[in-house]
Subunit: 477 residues, 2 copies
């Protein structure tokens, strides 16, 4: 089968970022806009995000997390109230200076995240321990001005959800950090993406947090993608915004807070984890079209074939997102390529022979294998296939990531190698800075197993000082 | 039953706008924020919007309308390209002048609506008639700076959907205007709200449109609320943004466009149409909680009653949004009031007698009637009740609106009367301006029946000139 003959998609091995750009364009997922750094998400790309969002919403709802909506504008003085927070975000802010035909006395930032927008109001809502825990989520757009934009992964405006909670004490809040991390891990597994989850280093944590946990994903070029984060904010913001409650002990206490977020970066991760030289490969759970039916006919067999396709479509449409490609002016080969680029998991090829014999040819996008299936067996076989495709994509990604994590004892071993590096580290910020300068990489995550054990090497792989734990290091998007 | 004894809610008859504010606050739907003109929508209020949104999404999906997401920022020069459009919106714009630590060379407006953000890109997507019709929808936040904000109805930032379509010719585009108007009408009927739909006058149409159709709703103080609009844009924007296609005739033609939108104003309309002196009254379709169970017990009967409540909740939870109010430190009377203010359609009151006899007391929020129902009949009775409550709320609103539309022959008859006024009108803009100055009202809608018939009076009710049609006039929110 001659696939992608026009080679509109760069090979991954030649130039991975170019491949990514090509797939985003050719699969009609998104494109740049007139506003530098901002993107336009097209229906096919947005539908993927909506499917991720629906799964995450389902998990939130099951856990009694309610949604809220705060204004997009944050008074600058609120943002400036938490020192580390504003230092982290001020270089990326977009500022509204004029509105309603007048210059504003108090300038407004467009939210880069909503801690500073929400917590003054949280303080009003919370009186006593009976009002806790407060666990709210917001689906919203946020703006962080990007100097080097990249589709989905780094746009100046992006869609995400941000959860903001208040608990009575540190213990409860820390349990929640892990709970939401597990929700995110499950959401990536829903996308057939294996993740590496754990703690961030002091210099890589969220600006204003006491501790950040992260979901890290490996792209097919060996770089890391931060897929979602879950922060323990301690009482840092509570003290600034006066989020306190009257405890059962009759005393006032500051609330212990969390925030946690997952954005449409997840769509970027999905592309970079599963895509191949022919374009997207989508796991069924997040495929806007799960089954594409391509009729193959000549004028004299058109009616018979198209009727058969319609019958099959109707028999599947309650269970699957299914579509018949009825375009008259395109060849079957063009259509095959069209839907392969878009990563549709299953293609049904149906010609007059198939129609006459009540059979069909089933093509799997994940491994390119074709099989002939009797119409009577289709429902059963499709149900199996959807599971097999999901499992295969997950296993491929898992195997790839395992093969590309290299244990090193000294940073000299990095050399020109791609992938992630596991190394025993002293955790001093100066060494992370050196690593960034020399290799363009930083620490990504401290896995729980590594956190609970002594480092494999007593000496730090950079400084030679005493190592604390084994961390993962990588270049990232 | 002593309801709302504290009188935290102003009576509608005393001061309707104060009543509205009180309900929004007491039902915990929303509140003001630190950013003037912007509101915070709390979980109970946002859930109502999400239920409306889900119904509208369902209708869009059924009609193969796909979602898209464009940047929140619009280059000012794009907005300025369509003369009437910019004149209509420029007084309400919020402007970003600084981003990423630098002053922007090209200032950005925050979208007040997205015609000027989308259509340059539409021009790229459309090549030939085969790409048409293009029918896309966007769920987004938009900003129109408000000098006189009002919760849900007029906030500087609001959530909405905006549809933007391109057709080959005027006829198709005009059919679509009505089609989307019918979708909006059905969405209001889903909320048990009767609507008056038809054409807007020249001065009240959308800035940049050839023609606007509107969904008008009557609040319980007799004012009008514009519930949604559907515009025929002609080729006005297409000419500015070069939205053209190669026709089957081998010639290039400009596309005929529509835009149409419904916002969370609909939540404001819902409150103002159904609410009464005790607070909200919600139709079951958009009630965040459809059935509230209030246990009534003493210490010795607590377990028996609470177990019975749980059993009932579990038997209902697959069909209804149901909750048991288990708060220990509140009286049943407090709880009754709490959920009445929030408009929960059905309350189940359950005490030890009910638990022992396998019965329960069912209270309807819409008409205040109580009945005793045997547990065995509950499922059947609840299904009936949900329909009855919806129908009753709809009928009450319809009767109210009919009683409050007054036929007048001269504008002097308006006097101090509230309600809407049907009158034969010359349709000249100068008369509408006079009416606004004298009575604070403008034309709301020309109903289809009136559009197709001669005016009842040959003379205009304001100018005495030749009348063209019978229009509806009202003050509005």
């Amino acid at each position: 089968m001659a696939i992608n003959e026009k080679r509109t998609i760069t090979k991954q091995s030649l130039d991975f970022p170019a491949w990514y750009q090509d797939v985003v364009r050719e699969a009609e997922l998104a494109e740049g806009s007139e506003v530098r750094g901002c993107g336009i998400v097209r229906p096919y790309g947005l539908k993927i995000w909506e499917l991720i969002k629906a799964e995450l919403s389902r998990q939130f709802e099951e856990d009694d997390i309610e949604n809220v909506y705060f204004p997009i504008f944050v008074p600058l003085e609120n943002l400036e109230a938490e020192k580390e927070h504003v230092e982290g975000f001020s270089p990326e802010l977009a500022i509204v200076t004029h509105a309603g035909g007048e210059e504003l006395t108090n300038k407004l930032a467009i939210r880069p995240t909503s801690e500073a927008a929400m917590y003054k109001t949280y303080a009003k809502w919370i009186q006593s321990y009976k009002d806790l825990p407060l666990r709210l989520n917001q689906w919203a757009n946020v703006v962080r001005w990007e100097k080097r934009p990249r589709a989905f992964l780094r746009w100046s405006e992006f869609l995400w959800q941000e959860g903001h909670t208040v608990f009575e004490n540190e213990e409860e809040a820390r349990v929640e950090v892990q709970k939401m991390l597990d929700v995110y891990k499950a959401t990536y597994e829903f996308m057939a993406i294996p993740t590496y989850t754990g703690r961030k280093s002091e210099s890589e944590k969220f600006a204003g947090a006491v501790m950040t946990k992260t979901v890290e994903v490996m792209a097919r070029d060996g770089k890391a993608i931060q897929g979602a984060t879950s922060h323990y904010l301690g009482t840092n913001f509570a003290k600034v915004f006066d989020v306190k409650y009257l405890g059962a002990d009759g005393e006032f206490h500051f609330g212990h807070q969390n925030s946690w977020g997952l954005s449409w970066r997840s769509v970027g991760a999905l592309i970079m984890v599963h895509g191949d030289d022919n374009g997207l490969r989508l796991p069924p759970n997040v495929a806007p079209i799960q089954v594409i039916i391509v009729p193959i006919y000549k004028d004299e067999t058109a009616k018979e074939v198209l009727d058969y396709c319609d019958t099959i479509k109707n028999s599947l449409k309650d269970k699957y997102r299914v579509k018949v490609d009825t375009r008259e002016n395109q060849t079957p080969g063009f259509k095959f390529n069209h839907w392969e680029v878009r990563g549709v998991p299953v293609r049904l090829e149906i010609g007059p022979k198939e129609a006459a014999e009540k059979k069909l040819t089933v093509f799997r996008r994940d491994n390119g294998i074709k099989e002939l299936v009797a119409l009577a067996d289709l429902e059963k076989r499709l149900a199996e296939l959807m599971k097999e495709i999901h499992a295969n994509l997950y296993q491929q990604a898992l195997d790839f990531s395992k093969q590309n994590i290299h244990r090193i004892e000294s940073w000299d071993e990095i050399g020109e190698q791609s992938g992630w590096f596991e190394a025993s580290w002293c955790e001093d910020a100066d060494t992370e800075k050196l690593l960034k300068e020399k290799y363009g990489m930083v620490s990504r995550v401290l896995l729980p197993d590594s956190e609970q054990s002594a480092p494999k090497n007593k000496k730090c792989f950079i400084s030679g000082r005493e190592a604390k734990h084994d961390w993962l290091f990588a270049k990232s998007y």
